[in-house]
Symmetry: C2
Subunit: 343 residues, 2 copies
Amino acid sequence: MTGEDLDKRVKAILSAVVHNYIATAEPVGSRTLSKIDEIKLSPATIRNVMAYLSDLGYLEQPHKSAGRVPTDKAYRFYVDSLVVANALPGDIKRMIDNELGESSQGLESLLIQTTRLLAALTQFTGIVAAPRVEHSQLKMIEFIKMNARQIFVVLITRSNIVHNKVIDVSEDFSQEFLNSVTSHLNSQFSGQSLLEIRENLMENLAVEKARYDQLLAQVARLSKKAFELPEEDSLYVEGQSNIVKDFHDLDKVQRLLKALEEKIGIINILDQTVLASGVQIYIGMEIESEELQDCALITAQYGSENNFLGAIGVIGPTRMNYPRVIPIIDYTAKILSQALINN
Amino acid sequence: MTGEDLDKRVKAILSAVVHNYIATAEPVGSRTLSKIDEIKLSPATIRNVMAYLSDLGYLEQPHKSAGRVPTDKAYRFYVDSLVVANALPGDIKRMIDNELGESSQGLESLLIQTTRLLAALTQFTGIVAAPRVEHSQLKMIEFIKMNARQIFVVLITRSNIVHNKVIDVSEDFSQEFLNSVTSHLNSQFSGQSLLEIRENLMENLAVEKARYDQLLAQVARLSKKAFELPEEDSLYVEGQSNIVKDFHDLDKVQRLLKALEEKIGIINILDQTVLASGVQIYIGMEIESEELQDCALITAQYGSENNFLGAIGVIGPTRMNYPRVIPIIDYTAKILSQALINN
DNA sequence: TATTAGCACTCGGTAAGAGTGAGTGCTAAT
DNA sequence: ATTAGCACTCACTCTTACCGAGTGCTAATA
């Protein structure tokens, strides 16, 4: 990304600054580095290197007589040079296993639990994007008549994920009739993605209309309604209160909370994650959202190898402890995926 | 509650202090009152009255040389003396009608939308407790077989509210068999509350066990699982970011956010509301929760006359604008109730 | 030639002191 | 019963001074 190829010693100092800043949240001075580190250099030498790193845009000074603070670029370097992520401590592993292992809970409560778990383990804000409906493949659909005007639709995907909703109808269909419609839909569309089904149905609808067959046209309309997609994929957010710890500016806190409430911006970012594989890290300006500056987003997709369903992650300050958080996200995504497959 | 019967003039001054404090969030001094109000009295006289009110516990001074601030007791007096609530402005009325009027959305999204609406209109934090399952009456139950080990249960109540979940079973029941079970359950239990049904089933289970009839015992276990209640009723919360505006203390903000995350405490308070009728107001210490001090909670139940389902409300600072907020809660609850009945 | 010691300089943060003003309680006059 | 007058309180703001961590630059050193 940035063509710079830094000297080994320069890299060591940059890493040390980032490391120290993550630990203390205080600007790092040359004296501190000279003392603490195995980089046996005098403060003066370190100052030279730091000035160099400032020129390259890796470090910043809050004001002239203060130590250095890492920029987004520095965090990016730091994260990229973390070749080996920390191993996940056994007790945390066990916590994740316990929380998500016991199955027999519905999708929704499983995802909520995952979100809470992420927040609790990382002490940041946990986010989980629910599986996207439109690309999932139909396993079966079922209609249950509620009353003359409403039908309850249950839709089960290949991944055993259940979606359901109520649709309004103008005609009073009998349950027997509904059953015949569903068995037809099941045999015709089973295995196709909801998006494909929708397209097929649109064609059908046109054909039936042309035929002037009242009943069939009604069935077509009914089916179309049943496969209509929800306006908005849902996002679970937990642990907002952790934001207060990390940002001491009330204004900043409010804008972050607002951004989390609006959800849509974050869903868009997570949508990218679902396509990429493994743990993804977005730092500061790499997140295109205005409000999420000074934040880092660590995410991973979940689902099975060839069928990724959604993404999980945490949002925290750019100065979060990456080596600690990354393996948590990674492992949680894996266990969640398993829980969904076993489902 | 407090036996005090205040002089008319004293009441006027107390009201004026509360009113002014709600508007400005600044401690109110005697000079301010003497100027602004139609109470044509000198600051000195007002000071006497204020000293009296301080003695009775209606007013407090942040420090000796500051104006007065209302206590919870003062807000309680103020709210109780609001005989006539403000009429709700037409445009707000229309907003509520528009947002909740258009039906054909599921229960969940309707409740979420209500929560958001409350937050948007009041600029405080909106909360909505979902209908409590256990007291609702069964209209019909339906089993859909997902696979050999899992069954999807749909449960529709008299109020046309749909609950659903996945249950795990050890036996591989056929769909036909499941249908026969549901038709039996429907005919036997339709109209009973879920709590009653559970009790009946427990008896059944005992009887069947005694009979050593393998199949019937299995059916009994299956039915029992189907009617098992969710561990926790759900609470929707929106507009947390508004908290930051009203509480300038970071620590306070964090504790409030935490309390909202935990939900259970707030659900308990709302449970009381479902039993009482009309708009309920809880001020400061009247809420038994530690974290919700300095907060007021305005709530109302929703549902039909003889069958209340849940409660809606807002949480804000005790110095919220009660005359403005109360009618919003009141009207929103009414429209939500209608939307659910029309459903 | 790379490193370091030395030094002048910067500047946020804290502390102390003074002045301001909104507000109070009390007393005496109306 | 009400009010004018007055001494007093105390948070807030502003100024001043000082401290110290940290810097950049230059000259000495290995």
